[in-house]
Subunit: 277 residues, 2 copies
DNA sequence: TACAAAATGTAATACAAAGTACAAATTGCC
DNA sequence: GGCAATTTGTACTTTGTATTACATTTTGTA
């Protein structure tokens, strides 16, 4: 009796065909409201035909679509009555070790933010918000994608953002343009890359303000960095997890966006016009 | 716009007749679920006739009963479907609102994994572990860095991994080499990119098995995908958060690594020798 | 490659629900 | 208490939806 429909889906999804799985996916992704709409709307959203939706519903053990909808509504009713209920359900899933990597990642995130002072974040955010100066971004073998991600966003909300691509020799050429009060964001986790360390040292020598985003063991670049943000990366896997660093990048992006709200809103408008026009 | 239906009722209830008031009270008492049922059920519950319900609904300013139901659903959707809302409720009860973006991200991760069956993940992992076939990766404007990240790891543990770089025209040229049983991993979140959709369609036409990693609203590419993995992306920021998708990528990487343990261990040894030597 | 089996969609059908006209009932007023 | 105005419900029509039969496509296998 207590089995919720989303559990029911997880149980039976193995026995489902591709299209039926799409129906299941769509329902889960828009849970549960899409199931309360008509078969036609549900099927359109899932990109399958209506009979597929009906087969999906009957596979879940319902006699017909109305019966299925009634079950969904009852579930909803129970949820709405106690909004805290939901929180408890989520908490209780904490014990389930179905996804150890996920649990570890969440723990890492919590731990990282717990040890991080808002001051540190604010300082780094401020550095990235100085629109007079240039911001350069760079990452290592596995962290460069995060640098790219961050650059893609920063480029939209402010000018003077450059991601340093290619080989070390290419970066070095860029050094000539980097000077006092410019900002360099470096991502570096173990094994720390010599090329990054050398570059950071040279940049610092030119007076560049370095924001380092690294793991809990701290890259040697910390010596040269003005701002050091360290995130936990250890997970039960042969690889380290960079999810924490990724979220840190997003946090910085959000911070800069907020700080430059007025100017960036205008900038984004202009940009969309350029794109559409 | 912002006026909720319950507010609407209190505004107009004075102008209502006795029976219409019964309808109003019934709706308030069972808010909002009774309004999502049929007119007949609503009228029975209120102890009035169906035309009275319809008159009540039209007095609230709706053109018809379906329009009224749609409004109710939108209200509900805002309440329950937004993880933000829940995150705010949960965190406010805990008192630690220092990092709302972090709280929301964690909530998104939990919610996503909770709705995800291990089978789905396993299937996708299996697809990425078939070393006989080629794996192509591709992402959108903001998600391509995740595709790059994933490719960087996969390249180490197995052969035949290609990240599709550059413009659409470049990808298209790669299509010629893609065929039945090859795998294409696509990251696509809103606003969904036409170029990606077009490419996915062409790839599917060639018999390529598509693994789609998308947001909760599902990219249209879901139509063409064999595996659909949907993660929540909404956070209290002007930007969507891709942290969940990033962790999903790491989870898949870990899964493939585990599955190819023996062969990949050897491969990594060889690779290190090449690097050192 | 050809065949059988399974899956999926198209299109017609059956059904249920919303909407409407009008008659009955109720209420308010003189 | 009788008349007009309003409210309410009944019975019917219209509309839209779930359902189903069947053709088509896809998939797996020899």
């Amino acid at each position: 009796m207590g089995t919720s429909i989303s559990e029911l889906i997880s149980e039976k999804i193995d026995a489902m065909s591709t299209s039926e799985r799409k129906a299941a996916q769509t329902l889960i992704a828009n849970y549960p409201l899409i199931g309360l709409r008509t078969v036609a709307e549900f099927s359109a959203q899932a990109g399958v035909s209506s009979p597929t939706i009906l087969r999906f519903v009957s596979r879940l053990g319902f006699q017909g679509y109305p019966e299925f909808q009634q079950a969904l509504q009852q579930e909803l009713a129970a949820q709405i009555q106690s909004p805290l209920n939901r929180a408890t359900i989520i908490q209780s899933s904490k014990g389930s070790a179905a996804y150890p990597l996920m649990e570890a990642a969440i723990e890492n995130i919590r731990e990282t933010f717990h040890h991080l002072s808002t001051q540190q974040l604010d300082d780094a955010t401020e550095a990235l918000s100085r629109t007079r100066t240039h911001v350069y971004l760079l990452g290592g073998r596995f962290t460069d994608p995060i640098a790219i991600y961050m650059a893609a966003h920063l480029k939209i909300i402010r000018s003077g953002v450059t991601h340093l691509t290619g080989q070390e020799s290419n970066w070095r050429d860029q050094l000539i343009d980097m000077g006092r009060k410019d900002v360099l964001v470096i991502f570096d986790i173990r094994r720390y890359q010599d090329s990054l360390i050398r570059f950071a040292e040279k940049a610092q020598a030119r007076g560049v303000e370095i924001v380092l985003i690294t793991d809990q063991w701290l890259s040697p670049i910390a010596r040269f960095a003005r701002h050091v943000i360290a995130g936990r990366t250890a997970v039960p896997s042969p690889w380290d997890s960079s999810t924490t660093l990724f979220l840190m990048a997003e946090t910085l992006i959000a911070g800069v966006t907020h700080k430059l709200q007025n100017s960036s809103a205008e900038r984004i408008r202009d940009m969309e016009q350029l794109r559409d026009g």
